[in-house]
């Protein structure tokens, strides 16, 4: 960062404030959104495994174990993607979608 060398004109300060605010929202969206994507996928994956005959404790264990690794992958993808704002939007959308799907799959407890 080169904050120290910049001229501190008021315009510059304001644009920098806006920049940091937007970036903060984006970073929080990625960090939290990735969590909800993983949570949604965990529920869906465990439910699929369980309905196809895997014991429930086993199904949840596998999905949660894989979920943590998936989280790391999603965060890295989000920060590597060339268009940052688009990746944050995609994550936000996917998180909403997957959590809705999970709620539909397990209506009694989540709702």
């Amino acid at each position: 960062m080169s904050m120290g060398t910049r001229e501190h004109t008021s315009d510059n300060v304001r644009s920098r404030m806006v920049f940091y605010a937007v970036e903060s929202v984006r970073i929080v969206t990625v960090i939290a959104g990735a969590y909800f994507i993983v949570a949604g996928l965990d529920i869906i994956f465990a439910t699929i495994l369980h309905t196809s005959g895997v014991e429930l404790s086993e199904a949840v264990t596998w999905s949660v174990l894989l979920g943590f690794l998936l989280y790391v992958g999603i965060v890295m993808w989000a920060f590597a993607a060339p268009k940052r704002h688009r990746s944050a939007t995609v994550i936000f959308g996917l998180a909403c979608l997957l959590c809705c799907a999970a709620v539909i799959l397990t209506p009694e407890t989540v709702a």
Partner: protein, 539 residues
Amino acid sequence: MSAFPKRDFRTSMTWLHSWAGIIPTLLFFAVFWMGTLSLFDKEIDRWMQPESRYAGPLVTHDLDIAIAAFAAAQNGVSLDALFVMPPTQREPYLYLYAGLTEELNGKNYAYGRFVGQSGDMLGEPQSHAGSGFIFPFHFKLHIPGDFGYYLIGAVALAMLVLSITGVIAHRKIFADFFTFRPARKLRRSTLDLHNLTGVIGLPFYFLFALSGLYIFAGWFASLPMQAVDGLMDKSPVAFIELADGHSPEMRPKAGSPQAMDKPLAAFVETAESVWSERYGHSVAADRILVQHYGDMHAVVTVQRVFPSRRVTMSQDRMDFDYASGKVLYDHHSTPAGLTRSWLEGLHFAQFDHWALRWLLFAGGLAGCVLTATGALFWMRSREAKIGNQPFNIRFVHAMSVGSVTGIIVATGVFFVANRLIALGMHPRGIAPIDWEPMMFFIAWLLSFLHAALRGRSAWMDQCFAIAMVGAAAVVLNWITTPHHLIETIGSGMWSIAGMDLCLLVGAAIAAWAGVQLRSNAHRRLDDQNEQHSVLQPAE
């Protein structure tokens, strides 16, 4: 240059690596440091709870005589639940813990420990010590409520991200691995050390972060777990399958009393013989739990949690109906359960294998070096560009000093406070057991203040402080207990001797580092003076 560099994959991963690293530096070091010490938490317990030290061969207690003595010591208050752990090499006493049906001396629980041959019972420990303070510190920071767990969970996720992005950011990682230039500029050798410890410990950092997350999956993945748990109502196969549809926790009390005169040892023997037959080798139980003690519905649970010669934890558990002796529940590992048990067993490190324990200890210390050098490199490279004046550099500097040397000083103070309490040196009105953690946090806080005020010299000062508290702890152990270093080495009391030796080695390293830092500072000052006199020749 903006805060975000022009991106290709590697630069964006470098950006992610430095910011995901520098923000939680304080927490990384705290977790690595306290986690590393937790590998020897039981040895620290022995050092801080001298009444529980014991050097002789392990004594096999008669379980039922000990329980009777323990129950008799509760002044007529009856037990509600009873938890028993047989002695091990690292915890050389029979441990008893009970929930009581009513309050006794303001508490509804009681502890008892039987050390060595004597039938005398030790009461509640007078210090949180290693397993009560240092061990929980590394996964919840002693923050009240659940917030600490989530914070450390976020740190563990950041560690996973760092393990992968680090490999990408340092692209010549295997060439760098063989590069160490201690004589080169400090910034360069700091980075070399960061790369070295990063590559050596990579599998360790990754697996410990992942297994740590997994141990607390009940918190971090509570959303999916609870959601899917809801299926249990509809499913014949429960999350943990239970015979008779009742876990011991769920089985209600009958309400009618039952004399607890049958030997518990018989249940333990039954479970052990079933397991030994199942696995083809001798298996010992390490946890015994009695629910609804004294009730007709009393349940005896016998467990094997930590096999001594295996990393993978065991899920073997048998529940018995106390009245009839009937087996209510017999559980053992399943495939996903085994994967989980391996990861968790690796992290808990309760196996009886000293070489592996020391190897993990080295991994933990490498993690400390990794964190410290990462933060140092971040600071040095920014100082090189923009000088050391801006607030954010000074802030990160104070945070780094406090979180690296500060927490080590505070840990030393924690040990010293424990031994000073034995000399009666603690404020009246504060229980000794609370005074030690208080001293820890006061010392830690002061280290941040000191770093903020002292600037660069803070590193040196705090290194000398570590050397002093380390040496003081050994001397105080010598004064306040009969187990001084020569005696403990002679009698083979290695938990105490090892602790004293580690304190001395740590103190010596810290003193050496302090001396190096001081001579560097003098050299820098001489260089500056020289430049000054060259620029301004004498008139």
